[in-house]
């Protein structure tokens, strides 16, 4: 007799206060084309970028504009702060934790000066992507205003 073990569904929380934006509305084709992975974006209204789930901070790009969390359930989640913000070479971004740190959902990871980012002509929208899509069967995203750690996605693992 075959039986299916229950699938695990992980709730991903917003890293910031703001409003959700569907990926297809993002002007950068790397994100709108879902090339790196699938997920959702948030247009930020606060300056602390927090962990979207419990896990480990596995990577932070040297310019601090993007970081990865490996969730306890095995999801690789990229948080990319703004578009083309790599060009700011780290100015406007302050790292609050270190690579290798364990984090809980809602824990501040990066402090960002979004006014500076806007003054440099960069968009502030934050795509949050699952980058190991081969482990996923389904993503459901929510729409609307969110506060830090409010659900933005449910991700079902295989």
């Amino acid at each position: 007799m075959m039986f299916n073990s229950p699938k695990v569904t992980v709730t991903i929380g917003s890293p910031v206060n703001g409003v959700t934006v569907g990926l297809k509305k993002i002007t950068d084709p790397v994100f709108s084309g879902r090339i790196i992975g699938d997920g959702i974006a948030v247009l930020p209204e606060s300056n602390l970028i927090c962990a979207p789930c419990d896990g480990v901070i596995t990577q932070i790009f040297h310019t601090n504009h993007a970081f990865y969390v490996l969730s306890n359930a095995g999801l690789e989640i990229m948080v990319h702060i703004g578009l083309d913000t790599v060009e700011l070479k780290g100015i406007g971004f302050k790292r609050l934790i270190q690579v290798g740190d364990n984090v809980i959902m809602g824990q501040p990871v990066m402090e960002v000066d979004f006014e500076y980012i806007k003054s440099q002509g960069k968009e502030t929208v934050i795509p949050i992507l699952i980058t190991n899509m081969e482990k996923i069967t389904k993503i459901s995203a929510v729409n609307g205003k969110v506060n830090i750690s409010d659900k933005i996605m449910s991700v079902t693992l295989k």
Partner: protein, 85 residues
């Protein structure tokens, strides 16, 4: 194996990394990037960006299996196709 220099002034950030990962994922064999002895699976964007390759860095591109030369050449081309804005 190919040794490739990073010529993008922003280093290997999300856009070029995503091209490399797309090419690598289309290859049935294994593909790695290696910098200073640290080797990573080129099919994982988390690991590729985690190498924190910066402008001027040298990276080794290593593919194993049939068609490895073509894949190494394609990844070299992606790395050197600079993202000028």
């Amino acid at each position: 194996m190919k040794k490739v220099k990073i010529m993008d002034k922003n280093g290997l950030h999300a856009r070029p990394a995503s091209e490399i990962v797309s090419i690598a994922k289309n290859f049935t064999g294994e593909v790695f990037l290696r910098k200073d002895g640290v080797k990573c699976n080129a099919k994982s964007i988390m690991l590729v960006m985690g190498l924190n390759l910066m402008f001027g860095d040298m990276v080794d591109v290593i593919a194993l299996g049939d068609g490895s030369d073509e894949i190494e050449a394609a990844i070299e081309a992606a790395i050197q196709n600079i993202d000028e804005e």
